[in-house]
Structure formats: C-alpha cells, structure tokens
Amino acid sequence: MSAFLLQYLTVAVFSVAAIAMVGGMLGLGSLVRPTRPQSQKYINYECGVDPVGTGWSQSQIRYYIFALLFVMFDVEAVFIFPWAVRLEAYGLFGLVEMTIFIVILALGLLYAWRKKVLRWA
C-alpha cells in the first residue's frame, strides 16, 4: 500500500473504533438488561408524550418560514463570531466585508417583512 493511502488509515481506524464502541456498548447492554416487552415501549418517542396523529399530518406553513428566518440569522452568527474574535486582525477589510454580508442578509429580512410573513395572525 502506498504511503499516500496509508494516511487514510486514520480514517479507517476511527471508523472501526466508532463502530466497535457503539456496538460494544449496545451489545453489553443487551446482555445485562432485563427484557420486558410492552406495547407502549414501541411507540414513537415524542418528548415523553404519546404521539398525536400520524407522521404525515400537515403542519402550519408559518412554522417553516419562521424556521427559515431563524436559520438565516443562525448561520449569520457562525460567520460573525470568528470575525468578532479576530476583529483587529481583519481590519477595515473585514469590517467592510462583514457589513456587506449583514446588509445582504438584512435585505432578506426586509423582503420577508414587506411580504408580511412576520405577522402571525
């Protein structure tokens, strides 16, 4: 095997270790734990409450739009945080770039606001 492919050995070892660890723990658990099957134990777990309706039930589209807006600004934070930590190093260039980035994202919020998606009623 070439030296190059050997570098990928780490990945292989990691995969094997991960599988072995999870398999080992689950396997060990299944050996020790008592088994008392009850039908309630097989229903889907939904925050500790019995699930209501089927998995294909429709939900309000508004949740989706709010989730989308949330993700937008969540991702923004991912970029802003490292920039804020190294603010001096990036200097003016970073400031301008980040301003452009935030302005473009804010335009999206503006569009959403004018399209009245922020209103719940």
Binding site: S2, E88, I104
Partner: protein, 521 residues
C-alpha cells in the same frame, strides 16, 4: 496581533457578475417597496438594462484577453481565471438573461404571477453561472453551482397554482442537492490526491507525476457525475423531462440555456485544463456518457407527445453533442463545444419562447395536438418554430448545422470515428421528431374547431342561423389565436436572427468561439 493578509480583489475583472448581483439587490429593494403589485414592464426592463450594462463591461475584458498583446490571467488569489473562455461563457449567459426577461415579462402577467422575485432570482442564478465559467478553483465552482441551482429550484416552482410546478421544484431540488453532494465529495477526493483545489495547481501537479491513484480517479469520476447531473447527460438525466415539463416554460428555457452552459463551462475547464494529462483515463468515461446521451435522448424523444418533454429529451441529446467536443480533448473540440453552447442557447430559448406562447393561459397546452394548424393561425410563429426545430436537427444554413459540424469534425480529427458515426445517426433519428412537430403545424387540420358555444340559443335562430354559426366559429378561432406580445416577439426575433445569421454568416461567431481559449497550466 499581526494583520491578516487578504487577497487582492480585482473588482474590475469581476464586473459582469457584480453588476448582476448589485442589480438584483437594488431590484429586490425597489420591488419590496413598490406600492402596486403590477408595475407594468418595469422589472423586465430593469433586468434587461442590468444585463446590458453587464454585457458592456465584458467588452473591455474581451479585448483584454484575446487578440494581440492579450493578457489572459488568474486573479483574486488565483481563484478565478480571466480568459477568452470565461468571457465567452459570461456573454452567452447574459444573452440568456436578456431573452429570459423578455419572455418572462408577458408570461408572468398572463399567469398573474407578477412580482419582483422572478427577475431577482434569474439575475442571481445567472451570476452563479458566470462564476462557474470563471472559477479556477473547485470550491469556487461549487459556490457558483449552488448560487445557480438554488435560485433555479425556486424558479422551477414559481408557478404557485400549478401542482406540476411544485413537483418539478421538489424533484429538481432533491436530485440537484444529491448531485451537489457527489460533486463535493469529488472535490474532497481530488484535494486528497493532488493537495490542491485550484484547477491550475491540480494541472501542474498532474504534469509532474505519472502515478494515478484510485483516490484521484474516484475524484475525477465523482466530479463527472456531479456535473453530469447539471448538464443532463445520460445516465444522470432522469430529472430533466419532469422538471422541464413542470417548470414555467420561460424558466425551462432559461434552465436549458444558462444552467447547461454554466455546467459545461465548469466541466470543460476542470477536465481539459485541470485533468488534461489524465485524458486517457477520463476520455472513455466521457465517451460513454456522450454516446448514451445521444442515443437515449434521441430515441426517447421520438415517443413523446408533449412538446416540452420532447424538448427536454432533445436537450439531453444536445448534451451528448457538447460532450463529443470534450471527448476529443483538443483545442478545436473545446471551441466546437463552446460554439455549440452559443448556438444551442439561442435555438432552445427560441423554441421555449414559442412553447410559452402556444401554452396560453395556464401554461398547460403543450401537447402535440395543440400545435395543429398553427401555421394557418400564426404563420410567423410557426415559421419561427420551424427554423428553431430545423436548427436543432442540424439542417444546413442554420447555427445548429455548424455547431454539430464543429464537434463532429473535432471528433474525427481526434480519431474518434465511432462516436462521429453515432452522432450522425442520432441526428437522423432526432430529425424525425423535429419534423413531426413541423408536419403537425403545417399539414394537419385545425385543432380549434370546437363546437360553437351556446350562443345559438334560439335567439335569431330563425333567420340566418347559418351566418351566425360561421361568425361564432371565427370568433372562437380569433379568441384561440395565440397572442404574440411585444417582449416575446423581440425575443423570438433575436433568437431567429442569431440562428439564421450564424448559419449564413458564421465567420464572426466561429471566430468568437475560436478565440475563447482556455487558460491552461
């Protein structure tokens, strides 16, 4: 803390796409604050202006990178490549934006979908496509691909009231994301094997080594799969007919023109400039894709009764022809592929322009039967469609003939005789279904002879019932007559002019493609 070294960004060299993005953002703000929902043709005119300014900005670039004393070069930390190739692709995509906006204006009004989003998305999508043509780094190619595709996913579902449109958007989104993942994994493997994502660096690395590892070949194959999806090459074509059929017709035209051009631009650059020294390994793969696309595209198009689906299958077979140019892996082959993309852009946008008009309100009348007798009602429209279809079939004196000739000649020169023969046979098969539409338009009877409506309810039936009946029949005919609005008319004229013009006086456009050389490592 030491200041970070940031790359020099030569803004002037990125002008075309920056103008598009800036224009799109300005239009978004303007549209957001517009008081009325319907502002006439303002959005379309604005889009065309922005694309026009962007086109003007390419003129300087073109003079800079071609001809005597030219200076094709890498810019922005070697991430983009400013050469004839990238400027050529930019111009083709901008032309698609102009024609797309002309078509969309009336379409959106007809379907009562007026809004600013369509134009904004189209401009953003085009900017992504231009980036793909320019990118000299696999990561930048990927970013361009995503900008192009995400906007197109939304555009495919733009016709909110048609469930087919939603279906097209979902299908395109799921399969498109899937192919992006392939592409990304290909980048990862290539990076692992060559130590760089920069296409020039990859090319240099491969020139210095004769060793090909399995990882590298895997990366090459995955990149081919990812881009094969985008350009709709068999066997990665499954989404094409459904998406083209379901999308709003102008979107399908834009998708066929711009997305295909951008996808092929990236494909040609990555494989010819980046993996050029590996050609003996990838040529057979591209050969197989090309032959499959030609055969499957042409044969399946024959059995279609929906004109949009037929055009989708024909676009698959066109992808096969462009792949022939890549398979030759010579400068002439690349120039042939580029010319093909240019010619195809105008042919396919013209065809979809006609389909948009004949689809009429609801965008649903795309069966072959709806074209029956079009030549009698709208001789001009039927003539235009005939020209576009004949051009796609590769009839002489049209752009399509020269395009096919270019790639097949390059293949013969490179010694791939088999694929040249297959391409010519596929062209003959393809001619059948193009001609079928023409026959329906010119020779079949009128489809619009619907039973006269219930106007004949006895009033005046005693005297001259016959006269009244004929009057209503003509009424029905005029009402069903396909309307040709100004924007679509201009778009059709533009496409016709290029399709016929390039067939009769090909020299300027052929020169244009020949000078659009790729910057090689």
């Amino acid at each position: 803390m030491p200041p970070l070294i940031t790359p020099d960004v030569e803004w002037g060299l990125l002008a075309p796409e920056l103008i598009l993005v800036g224009g799109a953002l300005v239009l978004l703000v303007v549209g957001t604050f517009a008081r009325r929902r319907d502002v006439g043709s303002f959005y379309a005119v604005f889009t065309i202006l922005v694309a026009g300014v962007s086109l003007v900005s390419t003129v300087g670039l073109w003079q800079d990178v071609t001809g005597a004393g030219s200076n094709p070069r890498l810019a922005v930390a070697d991430a983009v490549s400013i050469d004839g190739f990238s400027v050529f692709v930019t111009i083709v995509i901008l032309a698609a934006v102009v024609i797309g906006a002309l078509l969309a204006d009336d379409y959106l009004r007809r379907e009562r979908l007026q809004g600013v989003a369509y134009y904004v998305l189209m401009m953003l999508s085009a900017s992504g496509g231009i980036f793909m043509g320019k990118a000299n780094d696999l990561i930048v190619v990927f970013l361009g691909l995503e900008i192009l595709s995400i906007a197109l996913y939304v555009l495919a579902g733009y016709h909110r009231r048609r469930s087919q449109s939603q279906e097209a958007a979902i299908k395109y989104f799921v399969l498109g994301s899937f192919s992006s993942a392939f592409f990304l994994y290909g980048i990862a493997l290539t990076y692992g094997a060559t130590g760089s994502t920069n296409i020039t660096e990859i090319g240099r690395f491969l020139q210095g080594t004769t060793l090909t590892t399995g990882v590298l070949l895997g990366g090459v194959a995955l990149l081919l799969v990812g881009l094969g999806f985008k350009v709709a090459a068999v066997p990665f074509h499954m989404w094409t007919p459904d998406v083209y059929q379901g999308s709003p017709t102008p979107v399908a035209g834009f998708m066929a023109a711009a997305a295909k051009t951008a996808g092929f631009a990236a494909l040609l650059r990555i494989f010819y400039a980046g993996f050029g020294t590996l050609r003996l390994d990838w040529q057979p793969m591209v050969w197989a894709l090309a032959v499959l696309s030609l055969v499957v595209g042409s044969v399946l198009a024959v059995v279609q009764t929906d004109v949009k689906r037929m055009l989708a299958y024909s676009s698959i077979s066109h992808a096969g022809y462009v792949l022939i140019g890549l398979q030759a892996a010579t400068d002439k082959g690349i120039a042939g592929s580029l010319f093909y993309l240019l010619a195809y852009t105008f042919m396919v946008l013209g065809s979809f322009a006609v389909v948009t008009l004949v689809g009429r309100e609801g965008d649903g009348r795309h069966a072959l039967d709806d074209y029956r007798g079009l030549a009698r009602n709208r001789p001009g429209l039927a003539f235009a469609f005939t020209v576009f279809l004949l051009a796609q079939a590769g009839v002489p004196f049209t752009a399509g003939f020269l395009a096919k000739f270019g790639v097949i000649a390059a293949a013969v020169e490179a010694g791939s005789y088999a694929i040249a023969v297959i391409a010519m046979v596929a062209a003959v098969v393809a001619a059948f279904f193009y001609l079928r539409v023409i026959v329906v338009m010119y020779m079949a009877g009128d489809a619009e002879v619907e039973p006269a409506p219930a106007v004949l309810d006895g009033a005046g039936a005693a005297d001259g019932a016959g006269g009244l009946a004929t009057a209503t029949a003509t009424d029905v005919a005029t009402r069903n007559r396909v309307a040709i609005p100004l924007g679509a008319g201009v778009a059709l004229a533009l496409c016709l002019a290029v399709t016929i013009g390039a067939g009769l006086l090909p020299e300027p456009l052929l020169d244009f493609a020949r000078h659009a050389t790729l910057l090689k490592p």
